[in-house]
Amino acid sequence: MKTLLLGMGNPILGDDAVGIRVTERLGRRLGPVPDLAVREECCTGGLELLEVVEGFDRLIVLDSIKTEGGRPGDWYRFDGTALRETMHLNNVHDANFATAMELGRQMGVHVPDDADIHVLAVEISENLTFSDRLSPEVQAALPDLIDEMHEEILTLLTRTAAIPRRHVL
């Protein structure tokens, strides 16, 4: 399966960059892998993502997330079906991720099935103040995050077909 490993975030917005930082390191650790493309930095969203993921069978997104009561440095994994729950909600500027993917499918654009979109999201502390540094909590978690996500990605890459699930391991 042609797979894209995508680091999402803003490189100068504190912890928002964690997806980029992890993808940079994982890309180096993974080395050349057949049918795997690595895009370390993607700072866009909505309909523009269609152009980024077009042509791939599987998408692995490394991103940040902020939840109520979440502990910075923890991480979550879910797939495109979880994002689909928010599909009918408008983004303030554009379509959201799931809507963009669904629109692409309806238009005949080759994008991964929801079950082949895997999101690995790191709980973060600060993403409203411009900085080129991660918060101490997220920085401290980085070595473990890389080890654990590396293992997770290797497992995902061994899968050959979509396994439809709702969400969450």
Binding site: G9, N10, P11, I12, L13, D16, G19, C43, T44, G45, G46, L47, E48, D63, K66, T67, E68, G69, G70, R71, G73, D74, W75, Y76, F78, A82, L83, E85, T86, M87, H88, L89, N90, N91, V92, H93, D94, A95, N96, F97, T99, L103, Q106, M107, V109, V119, A121, V122, E123, I124, N127, L128, T129, F130, S131, D144, L145, E148, H167, V168
Partner: protein
């Protein structure tokens, strides 16, 4: 130490926008506040960095209008080096920006505005999105939307080397010119984009103008404000997106002031409210008079409609036809009807497509004099462009080694902060009356108001799910009586 969590995080996302509505004892709206998480500290972040880095850094401020920041920043940096720019570079920058405008306006119109009009403002929220639009108007149109957006983006890539996170503008010009073979790649795409702008205008005529209910919402709903208008104009008072003077016109059509970029601080000041991190710009010479409508207000809009309101004309013929049709239908120029923003975007798309055509036929456009090497550091620069969402101002200073010593930005949405607050309150007051029970419907009616401004608050933040969750809380007598959530 990290920890993998096995619960569903989507149900408890943070970072949402908040609308707080306070009711009096009778159940009427007493107060209403719209609050959005705001990005902070960019001005501090860039101090101490080489000034020529700023046009590359500012593209990270906003994931939606990076090209606007890139252009405004480039102009401010040009100023820090004496202000001389290769004339060909100005043409190429304008050309790039024309393509970016089309790209952005297509996304806004079809993904955000069209659902309310094609499907109706009271349509089931489950289908009121771009997928619903495609379902109603046909897959073919959906394909055309994606293809046209893609062409506009490809034109940017060909001209500037990249389509996002631009690195192309450099002091005195641009880093690459346009080769003849690249121009020939662009030319057919420009023709197709022009056709698409005409198609979009016709769709608007058919779907919106052909429906008296929608026209009534635009003209007679709570979506009007008696505040002033701001936008860039050229020497003929025609709409200009890249350069010119900032013109401010009141809602009755009288010019209040006009200023050059370096004079912005004499004309615009920012008011602070204790309940918001975001400032509220106002016309400085009138002083802050509060969130009030009327001819004496100091509040202004800087939006697509405001740009057309301050201009006497469009810069190109087909766009001028659209301008005349629009204001004649609305009944006045300028117009106070905020939902006409969507129509104004379509007229602007036409001007951008026509301008692109003109540049494609410019025999000098493939020249190689696309940069003037700066010879001096003069230490201060101002850059103003029209971002899609409003007038965007960058002001920098640097030391003799061209190291940034200060930066001040007034972004498009900040200009509109006060009118957004005011229209949010106005819609709430209209919908929530004593004896009526607020429901989920108010969410979309309020959203229609601020969506017209296409507000751009924390758009550079990409933490999942890449959209703005929203919470509306209604309080009465200190107690929460209603709590509506969307995505949070």
């Amino acid at each position: 130490m990290s920890r993998k969590i096995s619960i569903d995080p989507i149900t408890r996302l943070e970072g949402h926008g908040k609308i707080e509505i306070f009711l009096d004892d009778s159940g009427a709206v007493e107060d209403c506040y719209f609050q959005i998480p705001e990005l902070r500290g960019f001005e501090r972040f860039v101090v101490g960095r080489p000034i020529e880095e700023l046009p590359r850094l500012v593209t990270r401020i906003c994931g939606v209008c990076p090209a606007s920041h890139h252009m405004a920043s480039a102009k401010a940096v040009d100023g820090c080096f004496g202000g001389e720019v290769a004339p060909l570079a100005v043409k190429l920058r304008r050309m790039y920006y024309n393509a970016h405008y089309i790209h952005s306006h297509i996304a806004h119109f079809y993904a955000l505005a069209a659902p309310d009009f094609v499907l109706g403002p009271d349509a089931d929220p489950a289908i009121r999105n771009v997928l619903g639009v495609v379902g109603k108007v046909g897959l073919e149109i959906g394909g055309a939307v994606i293809a046209s957006r893609g062409k506009a983006q490809e034109i940017q890539r060909i001209i500037g080397g990249r389509s996002t996170q631009d690195i192309w503008c450099i002091p005195g010009g641009v880093a690459k010119g346009l080769r003849t073979e690249e121009l020939e790649q662009i030319r057919p795409m420009v023709a197709e984009l022009y056709d698409f702008t005409q198609f979009s205008l016709q769709l608007f005529r058919d779907v919106v103008l052909g429906n008296p209910t929608y026209l009534d919402i635009i003209a007679n709903g709570p979506y009007t404000l008696d505040v002033h208008n701001m936008g860039l104009v050229d020497e003929r008072n025609a709409v200009d997106f890249y350069d010119g003077q900032v013109r401010v016109v009141d809602f009755e059509g009288e010019e209040i002031c006009r200023y050059e970029p370096h004079q912005y601080a004499d004309y615009v000041a920012e008011h602070v409210e204790p309940w918001s991190y975001l400032k509220f710009p106002y016309l400085k010479q009138r002083g802050w008079n509060g969130f009030v409508e009327g001819i004496d207000t100091s509040i202004y809009c800087a939006t697509p409609l405001a740009r057309l309101n301050v201009a006497d004309r469009m810069a190109t013929p087909k766009a001028q036809e659209g301008f005349e049709e629009m204001f004649s239908t609305l009944g006045a120029h300028p117009s106070r009807m905020l939902l006409a923003q969507h129509w104004a975007r379509l007229v602007e798309m036409v001007q951008n497509a026509e301008t692109l055509q003109l540049y494609c036929d410019d025999p000098e456009i493939t020249g190689d004099a696309f940069r003037v090497i700066p010879q001096q550091v003069t230490g201060e620069g101002f850059g103003i462009v029209e971002a899609m969402r409003g007038t965007l101002t960058h002001h920098y200073t640097c030391d003799e080694n061209a190291i940034c010593t200060s930066a001040n930005l007034i972004v498009g949405t900040t200009n509109n902060n006060a009118p957004i607050q005011m229209v949010t309150r106005k819609v709430a007051e209209t919908l929530i009356k004593p004896g009526t029970d607020p429901d989920q419907g108010i969410l979309n009616m309020i959203e229609m108001a601020f969506r017209a401004f296409d507000p751009c608050y924390s758009c550079a933040t990409h933490s999942l799910p890449g959209q703005m969750p929203l919470r509306v809380t209604v309080r009465r007598g200190g107690k929460v009586t209603h709590d509506f959530r969307r995505g949070c």
